[in-house]
Symmetry: C2
Subunit: 317 residues, 2 copies
Amino acid sequence: MTWADVRGIDSHGAGSLLHYERLRAAGKLTLAAETRVVREDEATALLDGGGGLGHVPAEIAMGMAIERAREGGVATVAVRNSGHFGAAGAYASMAAQRGLIGVVTTNAARPAVVPTGGAEAMLGTNPLAFAAPTGSGPPLLLDMSTSTVPVGRIAVSTRRAGRLPSGWATDRRGRPDRNARRALAARRLTPLGGDEEGSSHKGYGLALMVEVLSTLLPGTAPPSSGESHEIGHFMLALDPARIRGDDGFGAALDRLLARLRASPALDPARPVLVAGDREHAEAERRRASGVPLDRALVEDLRGIASRAGVDFPFASR
Amino acid sequence: MTWADVRGIDSHGAGSLLHYERLRAAGKLTLAAETRVVREDEATALLDGGGGLGHVPAEIAMGMAIERAREGGVATVAVRNSGHFGAAGAYASMAAQRGLIGVVTTNAARPAVVPTGGAEAMLGTNPLAFAAPTGSGPPLLLDMSTSTVPVGRIAVSTRRAGRLPSGWATDRRGRPDRNARRALAARRLTPLGGDEEGSSHKGYGLALMVEVLSTLLPGTAPPSSGESHEIGHFMLALDPARIRGDDGFGAALDRLLARLRASPALDPARPVLVAGDREHAEAERRRASGVPLDRALVEDLRGIASRAGVDFPFASR
């Protein structure tokens, strides 16, 4: 959660504790869960998260994938019976920090994405993260939901104007729903692409790919509409040095990213970015000046600490 | 090419021969290329395509990935110094036909996709294919460019109304270009998502992920704006039975796909589909009634056969 808060990914930061406390109160979260290795061999492994939060099994899984990929060049670890694991990019970054490429997917607990041509949400916002090590500077880091926007973006919009762009959510008849509050309750988000004309079947297909890798590969139960269900994760690590047979990957990625950043921008004041640039810049700012938490969130966190019987670590200002 | 033609993916069918003949005439294609194994080990390999068409090295690469994934559960093979390989889905399907999950990416020879916030095309339409084996019926098969539409869709539009939907291509100032003929010449397509509001940074990020896997992982030269450059491919095979430790993957995928296909449709006459359904249905039709080739294409193919000094295999009707 701190990893996300530092990078400005507030939807996966400390605010997640409110969601986790609700899950615990509803008996849907085993806080004392132990991660168990179901099976493992040289290049693959299967973990069971014990029905707890996903952060711990996900970190163990990527650690095992990294270790194996350093031996054999490629490795995959699947996790079943897990829970929400925060930002997928946190685990993909673990690979990049060790000179490897990391790919991470997870399904989501509640359906929120409507298939192209469909009237009801059938899949989660099913994120995909990809990280690759550069020669210098922070890793290339793509961390995206496969919907046009994640649920958190709709939630943020309820607090602002309350109006959504027309391609983010639909009503039961497939028409754009531009009322943020109603759209948040209805959970009928569009797949990336927005509508048929915009090729939303591709976003829908990506969400399905993520569902298969995250739930069917580890053998987790697929979603049942409207109810909470099991969450699974997929982790892949690749060693570019082993596959290429040389150490040129990082420098080649530096050149590619430099070419993109130097390419002509529509607005000279807003240079072309690559995936991860925005979050890296925010991390630099927040490491210097701290992570802003709004007053309501601080009070919520204080309440959680009190109900959990632990000291609240932040002083009020 | 036949694989694509049978499935109605006409952009990658026999019509591709026109493009390949132009490449050959321009000296950009070594037709007598030999595929060479640069290095290999238990779970990975690197091939060199010898500067020829990609079809042969891609098929060899996925064959090697499948063989290794059956031994170790996961394998990846990268190809450099290759060429256009047709439909990415053809190689991903090879894995699914053998009970494995297949992932395939390739870069493209000419830039056609404009980064979010950028004014010039910097990446190709960089496709991604994913195939997974079902218990019964054809595999799940996602085969998509990471742009809103591939270049071929723009070309097809020049023959029809000549007007494009507003989210497909842009002019130099980032405004929608709805003139199909002009957009085809300008090659300034949008990443999946269409514009900033539609999260085009995700399509751009996916195109960049594909570029990294297809060119930097095998050590192929990255694109240089406007010029032809080397093409590389990335192949990944995963064995669900090995990773899960049981044979339940296919049946679980059947259930997931059945649930999606049975989900409420906006138009009851157009049921919700899953990736690959449309192509599979078209293949059923074309296997029965043949592949329609329009007269102009048949004449083009006859000309290619004549210039290549080979018999033309199709009788005129």
